[in-house]
Symmetry: C2
DNA sequence: TTTTGGTATTAGTCGAGACTAATCATAGCG
DNA sequence: CGCTATGATTAGTCTCGACTAATACCAAAA
């Protein structure tokens, strides 16, 4: 097919750029994210650069140009609108939507995008807590921090969880660790040990989480509940 | 992309086989249907044959094998479920759904297919009157005849209209010539001339239709209203 | 300063699907 | 019975994305 590959590269670059704060994205990272060999990535990155979608400083890394960022946001918007629509309107569970949306995202027209947006009431957050870029390319900034960065005894609200692994998502849902849930870090064992957390408000249930799993959960301060996402639902 | 091309070829062959009653489908017809050169079609047909999806008697034409027919029906089912879902649930008009479904059909998983089917109440007809193949590969037989084959004075019910041309569909909708509408052939001018029809019951409105347009409208006898399609909606 | 190891690029190949130009096969007509 | 029109196939290319194997770069360690 034509632009499916390009779109997936742009999306991957966008996401990598936003988790490794600001720095340029390496060829290898892109390759790993897409399950592709590094020469394949090099080749593709050159073409993206030739198309003016990315800046490619050889042996340095890669950054999205404004045009490229716009295109990437378009794909991300499709993906997240689809994820939300599939769960809200068609009863999908949040652990299965990702794969479905990954295929559908490339076949979504501007009209379908608009109709999904409308049917959902112009949402700003997807089922996993990721922000849905607006039609004009605006994205709410994410300031959530990984759960382990809380101080012992500190409370937070789950803002976002990593949406890649269905198993993980099912497990988190069982524990009640979904976006919007209150969570308190009771203590965290040293030497990268597990964390003990309370899920829910005053007398919620306690759980122990492995370090790795906890790192995929992002929280915001419990006090500061100025979340634009809640604005228009 | 991988199977998008194959699926489109299978779908095209299926549809051509069903409009030219029973005969084998020629390479040229396939090429024309897909907007592709005949050598491209020859090449692709060979690969479909190698995959056991079609029977290709050289210089004869092509027929779907049971496996091929099953695969084709799968695509057709996706297409028509999507068309219906887009109109019913997302407010698409019937002239624009075809193009959208043509892209989405290849990205529909078995799960999404099942959920669309359920959300629509297990429908059997798409917005243009085409039958939706059941999950088990069953298709309601279509016995509708072209409008011009009615005898002057004879009444019928619109069963199906050709869904390829949006302009045409908009025009037909304006005239009220949609599936389920009653239509009476008042008279038809000789030498392939235009037809005068009444749309609606006793005192409906009268319209004149060009021969070509009329040939894209398919009707069933007004009396025999044993239509399985009306069964479960 | 030389060695080493991780990362990126080059070189060469492959299959999918498309194209054009040239050739063939056959049905039907004269 | 031979000729021709129509339709199908062959031959040869092209682009897109992927791959492996070989090479080049560069930073840090020795
Ligand atoms: Mn994708
Ligand atoms: Mn998501
Ligand atoms: Mn299609
Ligand atoms: Mn249709």
């Amino acid at each position: 097919m034509g632009n499916r590959a390009l779109e997936d590269y742009l999306k991957a670059i966008y996401k990598l750029a936003h988790e490794g704060h600001g720095a340029a994205v390496g060829t290898g990272a892109v390759a790993r994210a897409l399950g592709v060999s590094t020469p394949s990535a090099t080749n593709m990155l050159k073409r993206l650069a030739a198309a003016g979608l990315i800046e490619h400083r050889a042996r340095r890394g890669v950054t999205l140009t404004p045009t490229g960022e716009k295109a990437a946001l378009e794909v991300v918007r499709h993906h997240r609108l689809l994820e939300l629509y599939l769960t809200e309107a068609l009863g999908y569970s949040w652990d299965t939507v990702h794969a479905e949306a990954d295929r559908l995202e490339h076949a979504v027209s501007e009209e379908l995008e608009a109709r999904l947006d409308e049917a959902l009431g112009y949402p700003t957050v997807d089922p996993h807590g990721d922000p849905i870029p607006a039609a004009d390319g605006t994205v709410r900034a994410v300031r959530d921090r990984p759960l382990p960065s809380l101080a012992p005894g500190q409370a937070g609200i789950v803002g976002r969880v990593s949406d890649a692994d269905p198993e993980k998502l099912r497990y988190l849902a069982d524990l009640g660790l979904v976006p919007g849930a209150a969570v308190t870090l009771l203590d965290s064992l040293p030497f990268e040990g597990p964390l003990r957390v309370r899920v829910g408000d005053a007398e919620g249930s306690e759980h122990v989480l492995g370090r790795e799993l906890a790192t995929d959960i992002f929280v915001r301060s419990a006090g500061v509940d100025r979340d634009p996402a809640k604005g228009n639902r």
